[in-house]
Amino acid sequence: MDHSLARQSVATPRRRTMARLRRIMGASVSHALLIIVGVIFVVPFIWLVITSLKVKNQIFTDPLIWIPDPVMWENYARALTSPGFNYPVLLGNTLFYAVLSTAGTVISCTIVAYAFGRMEFRGRDLLFSITLATMMLPGIVTLIPTYVLFRTMGLIGSYAPLIVPLWFGTAFNIFLLRQFMMTIPLDLTDAARVDGASDAVILWRIMVPLMKPALMVVALFQFLWSWNDFMGPLIYLSDSAQFPLVLGLYTFRGRFGGSVEWNLMMAASMAVIAPIIVLFFVAQRYFVEGVTLTGLKGA
């Protein structure tokens, strides 16, 4: 504030026009840089769409063909109904996986985070430290015994190993929600307690409504994570009727072996990506908020 005042007092009209000129120049340079980088980021998407609409012999050509001729809309119909890539089934499986894992994470982590954030009990600090430590644990270390465990329960070949653990909480989301709870004034919950409200009531009636942004972030990221999860379904599922989209896409590629029909592959990829992009635009605010929230809390 006082700084801009100081600048104004020394600025002559000429210096002011110079400053404006420089600002416009700066903005143009910024835009130019942003556009160049933006193009680099967008070109793969554009090429994906172009390739998905080409006839097979126009995909790899010299010189490159930028406008498909003819435009093969039927590539999509062919890709999405091909026996190896039954889109409605794959989509249904993906939604099943994503919705159930998201619900599980949100519910369990909220309850556990409440205990860490709002309840007094012996061993809290120790348990919380353990929770933080498990955040650093790479999943691969526990993967093999967990697989064996689910195998002895006869659950290999189902979504149970992928979904059930999430209903018991995940360290990172517990941490995230607990941190968010700490920012809610204690007075609010204390006052409710005076009135005899139980912890369950306080959590449901006071905390959950106030935590909506954080809960949205957790839900979105879990949904996206499950949607994109590749290794989990690859290890635990074997029946292609159960596959989620990404695994369907993976086996779709394998099916063609040497002579891959890249136009169909790209159409199928497009169909896998599109729902996520739509979700992104619908919930964009939470995405950006979420990455910064999670990142900063972690740092």
């Binding site: 910024s30 942003l34 933006g38 980021f41 967008v42 793969p44 090429w47 994906l48 790899f60 490159l64 369990s108 309850i111 556990v112 205990a115 309840m119 009990f121 348990l127 929770t131 498990t134 691969i140 270390v141 526990t142 993967l143 093999i144 015994p145 697989y147 195998r151 209903w167 018991f168 909480g169 995940t170 517990i174 007075d187 609010l188 204390d190 006052a191 409710a192 307690r193 005076v194 009135d195 009636r205 409504p209 590749f230 690859l234 290890i235 990404v246 993976y250 990829s269 896998v272 990506i273 996520i276 992009i277 992104f280 964009q284 990455v291 910064t292 990142g295 900063l296 972690g298 740092a299």
Partner: protein, 341 residues
């Protein structure tokens, strides 16, 4: 509705502490003054029980999905175990096999270190560079943020397929571009020398978005007053970045560095899609990454013992690396705590 309730409570008890509230809520038998023994104990016990009820899902998870697998993993690493028959104790044979018997182990270690050493610093530099661009205050910056972040949403299988088309050695878009500006056309994923750079290129496109947004948040936390002060003192753009911005975002660099290392040691999907998992992974196994080696041994060959030993080594290396980075962080990470007060 709920806010109304909250406000009412707020006025009822504006400045009470949790302790007072708790003791009021529980009917206390005996005298008010002086600590009476039995009720206090039972109150704390009841409080503990209630908390542990809320914690119970997580306690189950810690025991069943963390503690048990950790311990079992240590045990499996010392056994020969094919899942069908019970584990057979073999001592350190798996580790011996790893270090002296299995040539693929060293190939995977080399590939993973190669990948990490290049992709982590490169990823940090690129994501920071992008964040700096996105921190410009120009009109329509939100659109650029969206565009730069969009690739991060693409599932790894799909992004790898896209890049397999782009990186086609003979007639792909990337090589057409390189030829147009007079550069040689690498064989990318079909050549043993270029497959890892190709993999790094793919990972950059999909992988930098998250770190970029975290850096952006870090940059936005840098107080403008400091930058302005430096400007008045005559510092140019580079000097302001080097001596004001960079020191202030070292905690963010630190965070992204650790996440980057952990992520790059576990690169998996890209490799499986582009290189396959049977036979050679990429030309001359040049894409055989450590996690793929574990995956193959565990879920293709069902060498659960050997795979557990491999996983354990990865875990130990990651722990050591993280500790190393944390140790060195004293010398290069700037924390505001204490500096301000």
């Amino acid at each position: 509705m709920v806010t109304g309730v909250v406000e009412t409570y707020w006025h009822l008890a504006p400045d009470r502490h949790a302790e007072d509230v708790m003791s009021n809520a529980v009917p206390s038998s005996g005298s008010q003054a002086g600590p009476s023994r039995r009720p206090v104990l039972s109150r704390q016990l009841r409080q503990d029980l209630r908390a542990y009820l809320f914690l119970s899902p997580w306690l189950v998870s810690l025991l069943v999905f963390t503690a048990y697998p950790m311990l079992a993993s240590f045990y499996f690493a010392l056994t020969r175990y094919n899942i069908l028959n019970p584990p057979e104790f073999v001592g350190l044979a798996n580790f011996d096999e790893m270090l002296r018997g299995d040539p693929l182990f060293w190939i995977a270690v080399y590939n993973t270190i190669y990948y990490t050493l290049i992709s982590v610093p490169l990823g940090l530099a690129v994501s920071l560079g992008l964040a700096i661009l996105l921190n410009f205050s120009v009109r329509g910056i939100g659109i650029y943020r969206t565009i730069f972040y969009l690739p991060s949403l693409v599932p790894v299988v799909a992004s790898t397929l896209i890049w397999l088309v782009l990186l086609n050695p003979r007639l792909g878009l990337v090589n057409a571009g390189l030829e147009a500006i007079g550069l040689p056309r690498p064989g990318w994923l079909q050549s043993a020398d270029w497959s890892k750079p190709g993999l790094i290129l793919m990972s950059l496109w999909t992988g930098v978005g998250g770190a970029m947004l975290i850096f952006l948040a870090g940059l936005q936390d840098v107080p403008q007053s400091l930058v302005d002060a430096a400007m008045i003192d005559g510092a140019n753009g580079w000097e302001r970045f080097r001596h004001i911005t960079l020191p202030l975002i070292t905690p963010t660099i630190f965070f992204n560095l650790i996440m980057g290392i952990i992520g790059s040691f576990q690169v998996f999907g890209q490799v499986l899609v582009s290189g396959g998992s049977g036979g050679q992974v990429g030309p001359l196994n040049s894409l055989l990454m450590y996690l793929v080696l574990i995956y193959r041994n565990a879920f293709r060959f069902f060498n659960m013992g050997y795979a557990s030993a491999l996983a354990l080594v990865l875990f130990l290396v990651l722990v050591l690396l993280t500790l190393l980075v944390v140790r060195t962080s004293n010398y290069w990470v700037y924390y505001e705590v204490g500096a301000r007060k």
